[in-house]
Each structure stands twice: as C-alpha cells, then as structure tokens.
Amino acid sequence: MKYPTVTSGRLGMAAMILAAAWALIVVPSGGDMTLILSGSIYCAFAILALSLALIWGFSGILSFGQTAFFGIGGYAYAVLALNIGDTTAAALLAILVAAAVAAAIGYFMFWGRLGDVYLGVITLVLSLILYRFINQTSGSEWKIGKAPLGGFNGIPSTPILTDLQGAPLWPEQIYVLCVLALILSYVICRLLLATGFGRVVVALRENELRAELLGYDTRLYKLGAFCISGGLAGLAGVLFANCVFVSPNMFSLATSSQLLVWVIVGGLGTLAGPVIACFLLLAFSNWLGTLNAGAWLDPNLVMGLVLTLFVLVLPKGILPLMQAGCDRLLAVVRHRSTAAKVMAQEEM
C-alpha cells in the first residue's frame, strides 16, 4: 500500500483548508459579533496584503504606496454607490477604477523605465498626496455628484452592498463575503502565477534583461501585473468600505507601513505568508491595545522595530523559515521510521 508523502507544502495546504473551514462554518454560526466584525476587516486587509505580495514578491516591483489603490477602490465604491444607487455595479466599477489608475501610473513608470527605487518613491508619493488631498476636502464644495467627500471625516454614509432583493447585507453576510473574496483572490493569484503570463512575470523578476532578450516586452508584463495588483487592492478597499466606511486613513502612511510589514514578516515570494502575517499581526496589535501597557507601546515604534529587525535579520520572512524547519523535522521523522523498519527486519 502506498501512502501519499507528507511534505511541508501539503501540511500547509491542509492547515489552510482547515482554517478556511473554521472561518466559513464555525465562526458565523457561533454568533460572536466582535469576531465577525473584526474578521471581515482582517479579510479585507489580507486581500490588500495579497495584492502587495503579488506585485512585490513575484514581479519584483516594490509598490510602497499600494494603499493608494486601496483608498481609491474604497472612495470610488462609495462615490459611485451614492450616485448610481446600485451597489453591486459600484463595487465592480470601483475595482476597475483602481486598476485603471494603476495602469495610468504604471504607464509612466514602466515606459520611463524607472528603477526600483524610483518606483517605490513615486508610488509612495502618490499615496501621500492622495492622503493630503482627501484630508482637505471637508468643504461643501467638494462633491462628486451626490457624494460629499467629507475631508478627514470620510464618508460615514457609505452604502452597504445589497442582496438580490435590494436589502443591505447583514454583518454575518458581509463577513462570509469577505472570507470568500479572500479565498477567491488567493486562488486567482495562484492560478495566475501558473499561467504563461505569471511565468514571464516571475522570469523578469529574476532577470529583467534576460527576459527582454528572450523577446518579451517586459514593460507590458509589468503593467499587466501592476494593474491586477491595483485591482486586487481596489477590491480590498471596496470590502473595507463595507465593513467600516471610507476615510482618508485608508491612504495613510500608517496603513502603508503595516502592509509592508505584513509582507516582509510573512515572507517575500509567498502568497500565504503575508496573509497569515496580516491576521497574526492585526490580532497582536489588537491584543497590545487591550493591555494598557502605557505609552511605550506606541504602534509606530513597534511597527518600525519589527520592520527594521526583519530587514536586517530575517529578510526572507517567517513562512519560508517555517517551511524549511518543517521539512527538516519531517526528514528526521522519516529517517527514524525507515531506520526502525530496517532494524525490525534485521531482528527477524
């Protein structure tokens, strides 16, 4: 009889499926409202982490200002939903808007053939300026159609997605939607990386010149990857708008730095790592907040320390490290069991 070989990848897959089952079946039926509300927000952020993991880890494009597309997605959803009334259409359009903005910025960056550093600076500056711009739109003259932008207050009247009968979704339904969207986004990223397009993108991360010499127009591939990532970030923004409401904080530097920390802690070049790190670190900072440990637990200080230490000491992140450790452990176990078998045979 043949047993399937146990590998760290398969163990990880099994753990992910168990976690998804728990999130989809146990949590909504338990009726714990805090868990459901924060779970929805965590899932929206996890999709944002996924969007950066895709563009940074697999295409080698470090977008410091991924929150720009997150915020644009959220604001586009709120503005469109208030204007056209149909929230489903608004949600889909908002994702397209975020992807379109990514395309426009991407055109200038990739056709200008800007280097890594410049890409980082331009995207970061984009989110910084959007943050300042949105923050000062509090006057009544700042309106798009029927939607007031609301300055630093954001748009508290952000409409909630509706079901087929036109009734707003319950928090439980939003939660399930967010979990499903996260799973779907993960699967889309996985499938995308398995296609020819995904392979070329990874190839140009490894060596852009070589990919170019093989005849690929690397600018187009980068633009494609950047658009998809922008769209994913837009989706995260739409979901976030449904869990809370849209406010300038979506663009803020704090959000951008948290996002970078999730990806680098989880593991660059993995998709599951940033998602796991996002959940763990959000839960961790929530827990820190409840500790009342005084001023020394300033969130910036903690985030900064984590970011700097990981860059210096563990630039590969936790997930690859765990996988390597797991593989070693499995190898040891396998070695022992074969040794035991051999000894048993010898005794007979």
């Binding site: 960056m109 890594d116 500056v125």
Partner: protein, 288 residues
Amino acid sequence: MDYVAIILLQTTISIANLVLISAGLAVIFGMMRVINFAHGEFLMLGGYTAVIAAQHGVPLLLSCFVLAPILVGLVGLVVEYLVIRHLYGRLLDTMLATWGVSLILIGLVTVSFGNSVSGISTPFGSVAIGRFTIGLYELFLVAVTIALVVAGYLVMRFSRIGLIARATMQDREMAEALGINQRAVYRATFVTGAALSGFAGALIAPIAGVVPTIGASYLAKCFITVISGGPAIIAGTLSASGLLGGVNVIMTFLSTPVLAEVALLATAVILLRVLPQGITSKFFRRSQ
C-alpha cells in the same frame, strides 16, 4: 507692480525652501545612491531640537547652526552604525530599513514629547511691499540657502573632501582602488546628510511648527525634488527646485496649496517619463 514683485519673491522663497529641505536627502542620494526614507524624521528631529532649546532660552540661531546639526548628525551616526552599514549594496532593503527607522523615530518622539503641536514664534518681524507683507525670516532663509549652495559648490569644487566626494560619485570601484576608504566616505556622507537635515529642520521650525508626524509632509516634496534632479547634487537640486518650486507657486496662486502638490507630482511623473534618470542625466552633466 507690487503684485508681480510679491509673486517673484514667493517663487524665490518656495524654491529656496525646496533646496533647503532637500539638501540632506540629495547629499545621501547623490553619493550613496540610497534613498533615505527617514529624511523627514531627521528634519522633524531638527525642528524639535530648535523648539525645545528655545523653550529653555537658547537663541534660535545657536540651535539652528550648532545644536540641531550636531544632535541629528549623531542620530545619523547611530543609524548608520546599527542599520545602514549592514545593507550597502542592497538598495531596496535600505529603503525598507530606513522606513523602519523613520517609524521608530516617530514612535520615540511621540512617546517622549506627546502628540501635540509645538512651535516658536517667527523672529525678525515682516516688511511691507505695497499692499502685501512678507516675513523677513523667510527672506533670511533665502539668504541662508544661497550661502549654503555657494559653500557646497566651493567645497565640492576646491577642497580635498570635495575631490574625494566627486571621485566616489563618479566611479566608486575606481575610487576604492585608488585607496579611498569606502566605508568611511559612506559614513561621513550619511552623517553630513543627517546634519544638513537637522539644520534645515531647525530653520524651518518657526514657520512650520513641529509634530512627531510632520516628516511625512516634507517627504513627498523632498523625494520628488531629489529624484527629478538626478545624480548631480547641487545642479540637480537647484534645477528641480526651480522647476517644481515654480509650478508649486503658480498652482498655489491659481488654486489651493494641496492641488499645487498634486500638480507637483504630475510634473515629476511626466518629467521622469521623459528623463528617467532626472534632469541632470541629460543637462548639466558635467556639474556637481
């Protein structure tokens, strides 16, 4: 007539401001090809030094010219020793790590001094031009900036330190082969950049006030200026400040200061589409 004069003066002030706050970043970028994301926080620390010293009765100019550069230079030295020197040659990692450092500095200052705005009154009073008034302190800043640029040019052009700096910028391997200690040059550069930022931050403090998070509001402008300017430190900063400062003032007069910042970004993005390595990659190529 006085309207034209005031616009010209405002433009000059705006350009000088950009040069002043970007100088430290430009030195580090020009020499080391490292974008220092903690630049805004170095400015912020300079500002805090000036404000706290003023609250203890130290005259502003003393803290600007002596205290702030020394203190922020020391912070730069510590940051270089603990973080940057492990990351030379890993560009993106340097960006990430300096961002981490910037968050740590924001956190530390928030913990120590709280989150509120502090400020000092702007010295020197103001002068009237026709119907408008303009702060004398802002004109003083223009003068300081001009002096700084001239001093920078003289040092780069005529001193031995400037020679070493130019050699390292042009070809670092060759400079190393000729017996220049790379590590020492890099450390000195980082400390100089930090000290310059502290100096600028202290000078700006009376106009801008200080909060722990003020770095972010300088960040956008400084980065855009430095990467639009390109590799040459002085010529790059001057030409980019001239262009972007001009756009900024014109857009501020036509609409609002924030829309002017949006225009600043748009200008820079379009500029980089045409000149990806910045202005000095094509023009003023033989300058410093």
